[in-house]
Amino acid sequence: MSDFAGAGQLVRLALRRDRLLMPMWVAVFAFMATVSAAATAGMYPSLESRVQVAETANRSPSLVALYGKIYAPESLGAVAMWKMAGTGALMVALLGLIVAVRHTRAEEENGRLELIGAAAVGRFAALTAALLVAVLMNGALGLLTAAGLVAAGLPAAGSLAFGLSWAGVGVVFAGVGLVAAQLTRSARLATGIGAAVLGAFYLLRAVGDVQGGSGLAALSWLSPIGWGQRVQAFAGERWWVLLLLLGLTGALTGVAYLLVARRDLGSGLVPDRAGPAVAARSLRSPLALAWRLQRGALLGWSLGLLVLGAVFGSVASNVEGFVDDPDFREVIVRLGGERTLTDAFLTVELGVMGVVASAYGVQAAMRLRAEEAALRAEPLLATAVTRVRWAVGHVVVAVAGTTVVMAVAGLGSGAAHAAQVGDAAQVGRVFGAALAHLPAAWVLVGIVVLAFGLVPRFGAAGWAFLVAFFLLGELGPLLELDQRLLDLSPFAHTPRVPAAEVEVAPLLWLTAIAAALVGAGLVAFRHRDVG
């Protein structure tokens, strides 16, 4: 048992470190679920209206891919929590992953774990503490969410099932994070590996759900994200599915313990290779350094979006076949846009990929603050490099990288779709539509740069804005918020291509806003203290 000594202390340390962040996230999720439940109840008071919207959603492949299915059209809870079960679970999973890596590999990488390891602390203590923290957090998140749903007037059993399904997905991905944290020396890379796994499971669920009755439907059962939805809260709860989530968490944790027992503190499973003794000729500018530091992440994001795009693209043309009722067709076309069902589907999926590309831009631009806080900007700024030139290096990588990521997503979608329908012209068309999502993503990069220049301590503000804009788009219409509030989100101004016609004006002024934000951020950075 001495291997576990000190775990309790470490749990308290972790809770102390996250005493603001963790309750805040738990509250945000519970609040989101509660608001969503209350608003839906108000929006569809009658059984008929609920059934109608649920059946429309279930027959719309783009919505099924994005959010999953509604398992009981007549159940208020199932309809109300449908989107939350899909995208909400994705964010809970991401939170679990980040918390797990934050309290294991990140601590190990920056050397703090060594300080702790020298005290009377067992070798499993850090891992155990991170696991306990993740379980505590997700437990609280699940129960608070359930309580919120009950308060919003939903049945207790379903509310509990829903809360626990979120918590279950959260701990599974905490488990994924714990394993990833053992594989590599870099916390950043560990989070990246975890995010790739999350993306793959989301994709499995999306493809499985869209395929409906065919054999591929079983794919959803290979994904813990799919399990979360198959608990079927408010639709005849299947409690045993929660056991699958717990079992997988247990298995992943077991693997993490096995791995941690087999490696040294500070090392990963993959040993470090020696680097070059002399720098390449090209490594001679802040931009070259920024590229060198960020190219690995860009490659990872690009691959991820290529796969995501290709999968969505290859599904797109099948969409038409799912809807045979001409009346329904018309409803969906009207909901999604003015052209075909396929285009409506592509439009929604490109929007999702636009948000993902924005996330890439946010994390790439946040490198500025990360480098500064780690005191790695200081030696560079002591050379003949101005602050602006140093900062522009990372900004260029963030802006150009966002462009690359979105272009790759568009190419993947376009090529896969073109291959399905046998029309090469679709490649260019979908690619062009993907590029329309760039200006909104650049605005987020601009927000991060401005925050970096003005209030460097709030480095995570970029994420807060991304989440807020995303939620405005998701929940805003449901809550019948004022249009002026919805218009605050840059995503709201991206033309809905290829379903609708391209509008150039919003793209131009979004780009201008992004440029102004970056410029203001750089000016502010020029005038503040560094360090």
């Binding site: 990488e109 020396r185 870099s186 470090d272 290779r273 020696a274 680097g275 070059p276 003794a277 002399v278 720098a279 390449a280 490594l283 001679r284 500018s285 802040p286 350094l289 060198r292 530091l293 690995g296 780690a374 005191l375 790695r376 200081e378 030696p379 560079l380 700024l381 002591a382 050379t383 003949a384 490099v385 101005t386 602050r387 005038h527 503040r528 203290d529 560094v530 360090g531």
Partner: protein
């Protein structure tokens, strides 16, 4: 002599903390200047101001004839810096970091770089995350020393180095001095400062409390004398310039101001000396005197008996 850099009545505040409180510092061209002070005294803040990384609240900053806030590129081509906290990029090798920093400064002498790698026994192929603290320090040190510049700003450059490497560093500084380069060396290692520095500034709570050549400073300091006498030690207290007399039987130990040394030795000789040890003034003594709050260091041994005490604080 021309001035390489100067801070005059410099004030820098962080929120309510006054990190630099009317700091004066002046370094002449061609001198090796020691910059001493306890942790948190403001040494690193002063260096960051000199690099144009921090804005000042009041006072004057001159660096190589320019303004460090406005003339960043032109000035930084003429100086090299070793930060107090060396953090390397985890994925870059030491060799890459050295080359990159050199190129960003405007060029790198390959022969000099390779010679320094050899002298400091650094493996340039290791990745940043794999270096120990001492080796990270070496990377920053080599990157700075390889630069052919007029001014070197070194913030505790030998922290984490082993004694052999420390000696190598001192040799490097001596060479730099011989070549007429200017060095501002912030340090805690007094032996190092005594070995290489021409002049010293001691800073405390953001203020310069002492500045001058080592010889000047020695003059302010006291020699420690321990003697075994034939006669009575009493009466020594009455001598001008003698402090902290502790007597135990026929043994006596005390401190004496430099200018009173001659008279004191005569007085000792009059009493008959059987044994004598003389410790010349060290920087450490001065250092401790300024570092510890509330005047001179309390150095009484527990078993000694103070036969008389003096007012203590006065130096002259």
């Amino acid at each position: 002599m021309a001035e390489a850099l100067a801070l005059e009545r410099l004030v820098k505040t962080f929120g309510t903390t006054r990190a630099l409180d009317r700091l004066d510092l002046s370094v002449q061209v061609g001198e090796v200047h020691g910059f001493l002070g306890p942790n948190g005294a403001g040494k690193t803040t002063a260096l960051r101001v000199l690099l144009g990384l921090l804005r000042t609240d009041a006072g004057v900053v001159r660096l190589l004839g320019g303004d460090p806030w406005d003339d960043v590129v032109a000035l930084h081509r003429r100086l090299a810096y070793v930060p107090g906290d060396v953090n390397l990029w985890p994925a870059l090798s030491g060799g890459e970091v050295i080359d990159l920093l050199g190129r960003l400064r405007g060029g790198l002498d390959r022969t000099r770089r390779d010679e320094l790698l050899e002298r400091f026994e650094l493996d340039p192929t290791k990745k940043g995350r794999a270096y120990s603290k001492g080796n990270r320090q070496k990377v920053a040190l080599i990157a700075a020393l390889a630069a052919d510049v007029e001014l070197y700003l070194l913030d505790e450059p030998t922290s984490g180095l082993d004694p052999v490497m420390e000696a190598e560093f001192r040799a490097c500084v001596q060479e730099m001095r011989a070549e007429g380069r200017t060095v501002l060396l912030s340090s805690h290692i007094l032996a190092e400062v005594e070995a290489v520095c021409d002049r010293v500034t001691i800073i405390r709570n953001g203020k310069a409390v002492e500045t001058g050549s080592l010889a000047d400073l020695r003059h302010l300091m006291r020699t420690t004398i321990a003697a075994e006498l034939n006669g009575d030690a009493r009466g020594l207290c009455a001598l001008a310039g003698v402090h902290d007399v502790r007597a135990d039987g026929e043994r006596v130990a005390f401190e004496v101001d430099s200018e009173a040394l001659d008279g004191t030795l005569r007085a000792l000789a009059d009493r008959g000396v059987r044994g004598l040890s003389v410790q010349p003034p060290t920087l450490e003594e001065l250092f401790l005197r300024h570092y510890q709050d509330g005047g001179p260091a309390a150095r009484e041994a527990p078993d000694s008996q103070t036969v008389c005490s003096d007012e203590g604080g006065s130096r002259r």
